[in-house]
Symmetry: C2
Subunit: 228 residues, 2 copies
Amino acid sequence: MSTIRSLDDLYQLALLHLKGKRGNIVINLDGIPKISNSNDIIGNCLQEWIPRWLSERGLELQVHSGDSNTQAFPDFKATIDGYEYDMEVKCWNSLNSPGFDLANFDGLYRTLFNNPGKLNAKYLIFGYTPVTDGFIIQDIYLKNIWEITSKSQKYPIGLQVKQGNPYAIRPFAFHKRPDDCFETRRDFVIALAETREMFRSNNPEIPSAQEWLGRVEKKYKIYTGEEL
Amino acid sequence: MSTIRSLDDLYQLALLHLKGKRGNIVINLDGIPKISNSNDIIGNCLQEWIPRWLSERGLELQVHSGDSNTQAFPDFKATIDGYEYDMEVKCWNSLNSPGFDLANFDGLYRTLFNNPGKLNAKYLIFGYTPVTDGFIIQDIYLKNIWEITSKSQKYPIGLQVKQGNPYAIRPFAFHKRPDDCFETRRDFVIALAETREMFRSNNPEIPSAQEWLGRVEKKYKIYTGEEL
């Protein structure tokens, strides 16, 4: 068994074993197998398969437990050589623009206020294409959140807005235009603050953009020893 | 190959071949198979498998095409012995209350105004339970919509309300308390009218409860030759 000693090891392992590989999903009932190749099913199944495969390859991977609501961020905690890394595993049909949700806006805003180190959560992303008899893993990416997001036409960040409220943060077409993503972690954080400024909240528990940005900057430095 | 000459034939065929049977869903990638047994995946895969199985058993089944939005109702048209039947295939983990959406409220309201015969759409429903190595089909039901719905505590019908608007019509726990469902098609239609009355619309294209009920009754009789 290979040993994973760094995030790059993990990424190289995935590239080596999974990039370009074919897979399929078979549902068997009463002895009759049928192949499923709708996007929802492929995406959901892959998001189950990959973490289990990583665990079997020796990665110590914990599901962030607790509430089952989708605002929990991120999904996994990987322990590599004594260090803990926050991780998400995402999959999408790479013939389309990436459509997966990165995080709930309010959830991420709150999480970063209390724990700005989560900014460094790693996204392990699989782009697949469906084929008649299954799917092919076209490419694999290991990215920071600012490397897969960008400002959108209407908002400081790619944003799904529901009933006038910011809802989910959406990825940019990072696989086609990586140079148009945010350049730095700091740019991403400022875009979040600008989004809050556009959508001010009456809820006194939600810090203003200015208060939030100040605290995230300060706390990030305390926790990580680095500038935001 | 068996021949399906009636809806009851179809139902008996499903009972005979699928009730109590085990199934599983396997995702295979890089030659490594893993079993998926989360509810979303089982439900989605079964809803693909069942119509294909029915087609192979000789049922002439057409997907209602056109728009891909979820307001299309119902999903399928089955042709049996020259007659056309509207059909839906639904699956749920029968350890839980049925959680599938039956129809979008506004969509159903509009559809029945124009085509009240759709009231007789048949629901072929599979209750499964997940087990370690897959799932088991616990029971199968062939039902009319009024046989799987009931009034709820807050509304004249089981209803998901979003932002103050009626959204999806939800099933009652028909598998446990079949006698507490609506008794007749007419009771179901009246409950829809009462729901519209509770949620009046300013949209002039949406008929009032009274206008709607009158037309559905009249048109149902013209189309089917029977009283609502």
